[in-house]
Symmetry: C2
Subunit: 304 residues, 2 copies
């Protein structure tokens, strides 16, 4: 049994203990605490002692492009998040495009960090082609999640939505369990709908055309403008931050956000909070053992 | 019978004949040519001789907020598009938030204009609450379209997707025709699914949760950050432009865009082009008469 705060602190120390290490560690531990272990410390399997340190551009540019293929992905995304936040504070709006990104977990903790700074954070990630276009037959884009966060406290909103109806992990799980898939989530190699996990050749977009176009938007930003598409070394990720306070006293965006949340929930809608866990949340012993093994590997191979 | 080019030229002249007038005129005439008259010159009904001229900020700021309630909306959006393009060329990335915008037509022609300048254009518009949240009972946001354009020539992409399954115009048409609505597009006043147009109290999001979250993102940007939400004088609109050429020779985004289009269409997907018509396209006499009437009103009330 280990609390989220302790696990985060120990992992952050192993990763170098700067702000980027703390953000990366918090993002990974949170995923395990949310019961999403494939976005959690499983990412540490990709850690190598010879990875280049996180880039620190200091936020000196409104637009930047970074090749992250020699970096540990969670640290690279965390470092980019910090620099982007600094750039958006300086310029009002900024964007960063990362490529060569291997597994980094969920987008939500990173856009939430931007929201913590009083900004709007938007991010998307492309990946290997598993998902068909709406009306299409074969895989052309990744599951391409898009995330947006703004606000603090009770009215905070954190959207993190995938553009596919299922993930490849869902397909693998159904295959291992021998269970049928729901209708409408996958196609076979001939482009026909299938519910047999072993026959899946492509996932379907979430919600039909609207999910397909959302996935295409993410591919255009992270894959085309960011250069991630088709890169065998990793994914493309884009992040954007902007400062709503630039409107000054004319627009009380915090009051409007609280009003929108009220209307949304009064109307029966679910206000998305994008996960997030209390520091006191306790993780089980199986997790504790996996964390110890990962820390031993990182600390042992560290030259210090 | 009148060609699109002639109609556009005459309307642009009546609206003042600067670049914003030409863009606004082209956007309206195009909608009529595409068979979408409610986004076309019908917007000229809102034109008044005493409307303030289009703002020209000259693109001197990366972020700007404009109260457009005293302006003719198509000209205000067109002027903001031109200024945003200049700002993004200068800063690499820029955004503008408009509020108090009455009917301005479709987003597609404006983001396409940004793409013509070699940039990526993104825009969204919020509006009066007609659409329920996913799982909700009553209307909380507008039909909230989101648009993105990039590229030129055959590989150009123009996405323009509404976040609701239908529009209020669809409901009015079905009510007038006495026909039933398709399943899954609307709720009655008690929050129950309905196919009776006269009973519709809310539209449903397009594609369920993914369309609902898309609509919420647009509301957060245009309604909350942009200050449009709940303004009785008009809608909120946000526009964002960024320059993919900032990556330099490292990333050939044009080649990647062409490659993505090829993969998408080879996989059976439809590549979105966002409308757009040839200047030689001919509009019918009924349109010609409506245009003459609108031009007479604009030119007659003009002091010149």
């Amino acid at each position: 049994m280990i609390a989220v705060s302790d696990a985060t602190g120990r992992l952050a120390a192993a990763l170098g203990d700067g702000p980027a290490a703390r953000l990366a560690a918090a993002a990974l531990i949170e995923a395990d605490a949310l019961g999403q272990p494939r976005f959690g410390i499983a990412m540490l399997d990709e850690w190598t002692a010879d990875a280049a340190p996180a880039l620190a551009t200091g936020g000196g540019q409104a637009m930047s492009w970074l090749d992250c293929s020699s970096r540990f992905a969670p640290l690279a995304v965390a470092g980019a998040t910090l620099d982007l936040t600094a750039a958006a504070r300086r310029f009002g709006i900024a964007a960063v495009f990362l490529r060569g990104i291997r597994g980094f977990g969920r987008l939500a903790p990173f856009v939430r960090h931007i929201a913590d700074a009083g900004l709007i954070g938007i991010a998307g990630a492309e990946g290997p082609p598993f998902v068909a276009a709406h009306g299409g037959r074969g895989p052309v884009i990744g599951t391409n999640p898009l995330a947006l966060a703004m606000g603090e406290g009770p009215a905070r909103v954190v959207i993190d939505v995938a553009s596919s109806a299922a993930t490849m992990a869902d397909i693998r799980n159904a295959r291992a369990a021998g269970t049928a898939l729901p209708e409408g989530i996958a196609l076979d190699a001939a482009g026909r709908p299938t519910t047999v996990a072993a026959e899946v050749a492509a996932l379907l977009p979430r919600g039909g055309q609207v999910g397909s176009l959302l996935g295409l938007m993410v591919e255009l930003m992270a894959g085309v403008a960011g250069g991630g598409r088709g890169d065998p070394r990793g994914r493309g990720v884009f992040m954007l931050a902007l400062d709503p306070a630039g409107a000054g006293a004319e627009i009380d965006w915090k009051a409007r956000l609280a009003g929108l949340k009220n209307d949304w929930t009064e109307g029966g809608g679910h206000w998305p909070k994008g996960g997030g866990v209390s520091p006191e949340t306790v993780l089980d012993d199986a997790f504790g053992q996996r964390l110890e093994a990962a820390l031993a590997r990182i600390n042992g191979r560290d030259a210090r």
